[in-house]
C-alpha cells in the first residue's frame, strides 16, 4: 500500500460524484435551470445592495407612484422610493431570515432525531412527544402565536420559523439513523473501540446527510414563504425596511386603484426564490435517490 492511496481514493470518489452530478444535470435540464436560478437569487442577496441604482430608503415626493420606466425599472412606491432597488436589497434580508431559520432547525432537529433514533428509550419518547405537540398546531398559526408572545421582531421570526421546522428534521434524522443503527459497518466500528457517541456522530450521522440536504433545500422555500407571510400580516420586519412580504402588503393598498407594480415585483421576486429552492430540492432528490421520484 502506497502512502497516497487514501487521497487517490478520495480524489476518485470526488471525480465520480462530479461525474454523476454532471450526468444528472445533463439528463434533467430543469435541475440545471434550478441551479442557475439559485445562483442568481444568491447573487442578488450578496451583491444586491451594491448593484441597487437608488438608495432603497430615499423618498422623493415628486416621483411618487410612477409606473415602470427606463429611469425606474419597477416603478416607484407611494413615497417615491425606487421599487427595483428595494426588491434587490430585500433579497438579503429574506434569504438571511430563511437560511438562519433552516440552519437552526437543522442543527436542533437533526441532533434530537439522531439521539432518539440511536439510543431509543426515553429519549425517543421525549423527542417524539415534542414533535407531535408542535405538529398538532397548524404551523403558520403557531409561528404567529410565538412571534406575538415573544415580541414582534425579526429575530423572533427566525426563532418561530426554526421551531416549526424542527419536527421535519427530527423525524427524518430519527428514521435515517434508526435504519442504520444495526448496520454491519456500525458493528465493525464498535468492535474497533469507538464510543457510542462517536459511532453516532462520525459513522452514522454523515450517512444521513444526503436525504437531509434535500429536505433543507425544500424547506428553504417554505421558510421564505413563512417569513414573508408573517411580515405581510405586520409581524417582524418594520417599515421602512425593505422586505418582500411587507412590500407586497404595502402594494396591496394600491392594487385596487391600478398601481400594480408595487405588489407585483416583490411578489414575483419572492415566487422566483421559492420556485428555485423547490426545483433545486426536487433535482437534489433525483441525484440522491433516483427511485424516490414522484
Amino acid at each position: 500500500m502506497s502512502q497516497s492511496s487514501p487521497s487517490v481514493q478520495t480524489g476518485l470518489r470526488i471525480t465520480r460524484a462530479l461525474g454523476h452530478a454532471r450526468y444528472a444535470l445533463a439528463a434533467n435540464p430543469v435541475t440545471l435551470c434550478a441551479v442557475l436560478l439559485f445562483m442568481f437569487v444568491l447573487g442578488c442577496a450578496i451583491f444586491g445592495p451594491m448593484l441597487a441604482p437608488y438608495d432603497p430608503l430615499q423618498t422623493n415626493g415628486a416621483m411618487a407612484l410612477k409606473a415602470p420606466s427606463w429611469q425606474h425599472w419597477f416603478g416607484t412606491d407611494q413615497l417615491g422610493r425606487d421599487v427595483f432597488s428595494r426588491v434587490l436589497v430585500a433579497a438579503r434580508l429574506d434569504l438571511t431570515i430563511a437560511f438562519s431559520a433552516v440552519i437552526i432547525a437543522f442543527i436542533i432537529g437533526s441532533t434530537m432525531g439522531a439521539v432518539a433514533g440511536f439510543f431509543g428509550g426515553w429519549s425517543d419518547l421525549a423527542v417524539s412527544r415534542v414533535c407531535d405537540t408542535i405538529m398538532a398546531f397548524p404551523l403558520f398559526v403557531l409561528a404567529m402565536g410565538i412571534v406575538a408572545a415573544a415580541g414582534n421582531s425579526v429575530i423572533n421570526i427566525v426563532y418561530a420559523t426554526a421551531l416549526i421546522n424542527i419536527p421535519f428534521y427530527a423525524r427524518m434524522a430519527r428514521a435515517e439513523v434508526n435504519v442504520r443503527r444495526n448496520a454491519g459497518f456500525v458493528h465493525a466500528a464498535r468492535l474497533a473501540g469507538n464510543s457510542e457517541w462517536r459511532l453516532l456522530a462520525v459513522h452514522i450521522f454523515p450517512n444521513t446527510l444526503p436525504p437531509m440536504m434535500v429536505q433543507v433545500s425544500l424547506n428553504l422555500g417554505w421558510a421564505i414563504l413563512n417569513a414573508a407571510g408573517l411580515s405581510f400580516i405586520g409581524l417582524g420586519v418594520r417599515p421602512p425596511d425593505a422586505e418582500w412580504g411587507i412590500m407586497v402588503a404595502e402594494g396591496a393598498n394600491f392594487i385596487v386603484s391600478g398601481e400594480w407594480w408595487m405588489a407585483l415585483f416583490p411578489g414575483a421576486a419572492l415566487m422566483l426564490a421559492v420556485f428555485s429552492f423547490n426545483l433545486l430540492g426536487d433535482g437534489l432528490r433525483d441525484l440522491v435517490d433516483p427511485q424516490k421520484r414522484t
Partner: protein
Amino acid sequence: MALGVKSRLILSRLAQALPALAGIVVVTFILTRALPGDPAAYFAGPAADARSIAQIREQLGLDRPLPVQFLSYVTDLLQGDLGRSISTGQPVAEALMQRLPASLELTLFALLLSALIAIPLGVAAARRPDSWVDQACRLLVTAGVSLPTFFTGLLLVYVFYFILGWAPPPLGRLDLIYLSPPQVTGFFTIDALLDRDFATFRAALAQLVLPAMTLALFTLAPIARMTRASMIQALGSEFIRTARASGLSERRIVYTYAFRNAMLPVVTTLGMVFSFMLGANVLVEKVFAWPGIGSFAVEALVVSDYAAVQGFVLAMAVLFVLLNLLIDVVYTLADPRVGMEG
C-alpha cells in the same frame, strides 16, 4: 365482529387525540404566561399604567405560582373561557364563534374546488406518465407550492376586479346593498338558498369565488401530487394486472379498482393540507377583508390584543386536531381492510 373491531379502533384513535390536546394546552399556556416579558403588561394593553398593570396581575392571578396558574387556566378553558379581548371588550370565545362560519365557508368551498381540479388532474397524469398532462401536472404542482397565497390573491384581484371588472371589490362576504340572509348554518351561500333569495346567493357566491380560488390554488399542489403518486402505485399493483388479465374494461379498472384504492392515502394527506390551509386562511382573509377568524387575529395583532391572539391560536389548533380526528375516523370506516385481520 368486524364492527366491534372498528369501533374499538375509533375509540383508541379518539384516545390518541388526548395527548395532542394536552400538548396544545401546555404550549398555549407557555405562550401566554412563561415567556420573557410581563404578561400582565401584555394583557393590560399598550396604554396601561403601572397601577392598572398591577391590578390586572392580581385579577388574572399572575402573582400566584405557575402550577396554580396552570390549573386555573385549564379550568377556564374547560368552561369555554378564552379571556376577554381588550380592543372590543367582547369575550374571545364568543368573537371566534361569531366569525368561525365565515372562515369555514371559505375553507370548505376552497377545498371542494381544489379537490375537483386536483383529483382528475392527478388521475390523468398517472394514467399517462411523462405525457403532456403529466408535465402540466408537475409544473402546476411545483408552481402551486411556490406561490405565496397573499400574492396570488392580489394578482387575482387585479386581473378579475381591476382589469376585467368581473369580480366585486374584495371587501368581505357580501356587498353592502344586500342584507345578510337569516342565519341557519352561518354559510351565506347556503343560508341564502334556504331563504330562496337567489340575488343574495349570487352576490355571496361572487364574493366567495376569488378568495376560494386563491386558497384552492395553494392546496391544489399537495392533493394533485399525492393523487398522482398513489394512483401510479395502484395502477402498477398486482390486482390491477389480474383485472387487466381478466379482460375488464379500462374504465372499470381505472375508476372502480385503482381509483378507490388510491384515494385512501390521499385522504390521510388531507391532514397536512388542512395545516397549510388554516395558516393560508389568515393571509387570504387579510387580502380579501374576509370577516373570519383569521382577520380577527390579524386585527388583534395590530393592536397587540394579546388574549385574542392566543385564543385564536388555541382555537385553530383544536380545530386542526378535530379535523385530523374526523379524517382518521372516516378512513377507518371507509377502508374495508381495517379490522379484517383482527
